[in-house]
């Protein structure tokens, strides 16, 4: 099989393992960010992590560890600002994020061997230069992040879904939010060598955007997102070797291609079903005895006449059983708008 010879290269083995780790971890944390409509937080933390990388380069410490420290600190700061809920919160976040990039650029300039080229590996990813030590750190972080997201999944879901309700039922909402912020920071660091700090959010968010288009439950969304994450990160890493393109960019473009395909498919499915299915939400009304619509026996079930169409209840929607041709009695109840 062509392409398998790539696996003989150590750098490629490490790259694919890193891609796999990111493909699983990023979407499983990102789903809660999407759920809370905080999709851009990951991006911001990527910026903050840049200062950490520069600190590592400047002090000769492993950049992965200093980036982790900075991203965690940044994540906790973001959460504290968010909880305050002031009108200026988004501006404060912007300041923090710009500060992250600026700090990174200035610090790297101070380091003796520091050239802008050094930063490029972190900004845009350099998966093929991943060292064994990096890989070890990524693996530990990924396993930790996954253990927490799986173990606390119901709680993370409840808090992301309805924070106020979670607080009223006695859950530790502040603690859960800080935990999610720390998980996000850890994921940022795992992803930075693969897709780069500028694209970090993409792997957390885009697979979930795909799931959003096609899934009908949270659980299925998570499975789809992880499948898409693994697929695009492994395929993208592999393909980039042959196309000689930047792996990070290739992975993200692949993810976006999947997203566009999913959106198109969902659109087609909706319009095809749209003519035949009506959900109560778009209907603004549930059919039932006494709903005001005349009930008409139709084989083994009852249809409700709605603007001359026979609506049959089928799960959460109505199947349109066509135009009713039986003469409508004179005293039909008033139709609902």
């Amino acid at each position: 099989m062509p392409g398998l010879e790539l696996l003989q290269f150590d750098f490629m083995q490490r790259a694919l393992i890193a891609a796999l780790l990111v493909g699983v971890t990023a979407p499983s944390v990102g789903i809660y960010l999407v759920q809370r409509r905080l999709a851009l937080i990951g991006d911001g933390l990527g910026h903050v992590a840049l200062t950490g990388v520069a600190m590592g380069v400047l002090t000769g410490t492993a950049p992965v560890l200093t980036a982790l420290a900075c991203a965690v600190a940044g994540a906790v700061a973001v959460e504290l600002v968010r909880v305050r809920g002031r009108a200026s919160a988004d501006v404060l976040l912007a300041v923090l994020f710009y500060g992250g990039i600026a700090g990174g650029v200035v610090l790297i300039g101070l380091s003796p061997e520091g050239t802008p080229a050094n930063l490029t590996a972190y900004l845009f990813g350099a998966i093929t230069t991943t060292t064994t030590f990096d890989l070890l750190v990524f693996a530990v972080l990924s396993v930790g992040v996954l253990a927490v997201t799986v173990g606390l999944a119901p709680r993370l879901f409840a808090v992301s879904n309805d924070e106020e309700y979670a607080r009223a039922s006695g859950m530790n909402v502040a603690g859960t939010n800080v935990l999610l912020a720390v998980l996000t920071a850890a994921t940022v660091v795992v992803s930075m060598r693969v897709v780069g700090l500028l694209l970090i959010s993409a792997l957390m968010i885009v697979p979930n955007a795909v799931a959003q288009q096609v899934a009908d439950s949270f659980r299925r969304s998570l499975l789809i997102a992880v499948a898409v994450g693994v697929l695009v990160s492994v395929t993208g890493t592999y393909a980039s070797y042959y196309t000689n393109t930047a792996p990070g960019g290739t992975i993200v473009l692949l993810a976006i291609a999947v997203f566009l395909a999913a959106t198109a498919w969902a659109g087609v499915r909706r319009t095809r079903h749209g003519r035949l299915h009506h959900t109560p939400a778009e209907h603004g009304h549930e059919h039932g005895p006494g709903c005001g619509h005349p009930a008409v026996p139709h084989g083994d079930h009852v249809d409700y006449l709605h603007d001359g169409h026979r609506h049959a209840i089928h799960g959460a929607h109505y199947d349109d059983h066509g135009i009713d041709r039986t003469p409508v009695p004179a005293e039909t109840p008033q139709e609902h708008p």
């Binding site: 879901f157 979670a166 009304h285």
Partner: protein, 285 residues
């Protein structure tokens, strides 16, 4: 049409999980409730006993919602005392005994979630943080979904449900923790007439099963058959607190007397020189 489950299993559920205890479920003494350090409502003396169905009415901005949010721990009790099941609120750890149905027109975040998933999140109040759902947990969730008549729709994403069905999903979420009292904020707002009747039937079933209700509402109508007491909030104070004298279920007698009389109060009695509680004091509740 979704068939409403008979209230028998629910009755068993309520009685089995909540052995009746003496004393009020909720008690406020000279309480002031608000946000930061500013009370929105003050001098509140309110006591809610088991089996009561209390409507909290009053004009917008009067402090009704702040009052219930204080009970739920979402607003601060700045002065006085709040006792939940006889325990001071700051030491109260059994939040699952109070079910909360927020005022919300839509359920869920940006990721699709099924009815079953949303309702299950209500069960967490009774589950330790790292635990998996047990068979008991799953049964409680199933019962809650059946009680509100959403059995057929359990695997549907909540986002495609109608307003009334979404409201019933939120009621089921509150029921999943097997609470002894339900606190509801405007349960019928934005729900069309047919679905209001449906909701009212669900609430009546719950009351029959022994549930205590505290309901913030603008529309007392759907609650009339089961209502036992009306508390009127005006301008940050409790303006009237009347138990109903006629038996619940006596719609024809109480309904006609109650509605026109409380009308001016509900509408905010704009510009009328009457005392704050006039409308209700005149009513025979």
């Amino acid at each position: 049409m979704i068939i409403l489950t008979p209230s028998t299993p629910l009755l068993i559920m309520v009685l089995m999980t909540n052995p009746p205890s003496a004393g009020p479920l909720i008690e406020l003494r000279h309480a002031a409730v608000g946000y930061d350090d500013r009370p929105t409502i003050r001098d509140v003396d309110l006591r809610i006993d088991r089996g009561e169905v209390v409507a909290l009415v009053g004009p917008n901005g009067a402090g009704k919602t702040t009052l219930v949010r204080g009970i739920l721990g979402l607003a601060r009790v700045l002065d006085g005392e709040l006792l939940l099941f006889g325990v001071p609120a700051q030491r109260f750890r059994e939040r699952h005994r109070i079910g909360y149905v927020p005022q919300r027109h839509t359920v869920g975040g940006a990721i699709p979630s099924s009815v079953q998933e949303v309702v299950s999140s209500g069960r967490l109040a009774r589950r330790p943080a790292w635990s998996r759902a047990t068979a008991t947990d799953r049964r409680a969730v199933d019962r809650a979904i059946e009680t509100v008549g959403l059995g057929e729709l359990r695997d549907c994403p909540v986002s495609i449900l109608s307003g009334g069905q979404q409201r019933r999903t939120l009621i089921a979420r509150a029921l999943a923790s097997e609470p002894e009292i339900l606190v509801m904020d405007e349960p019928t707002a934005g729900v069309d007439a047919a679905n209001q009747a449906n909701l009212a039937r669900t609430l009546a079933d719950l009351v029959t099963a022994g549930m205590t209700l505290l309901v913030v509402t603008h529309e007392i109508g759907p609650l009339l058959p089961v209502l036992t007491r009306v508390v009127v909030v005006e301008a940050g104070r409790i303006a009237a607190d009347r138990a109903r004298e006629t038996a619940p279920g006596d719609m024809s007698a109480s309904g006609e007397l109650l509605l026109p009389q409380t009308g001016p109060v509900l509408a905010g009695s704009g510009g009328r020189p009457s005392g704050p509680a006039r409308g209700v004091e005149g009513a025979e509740l």
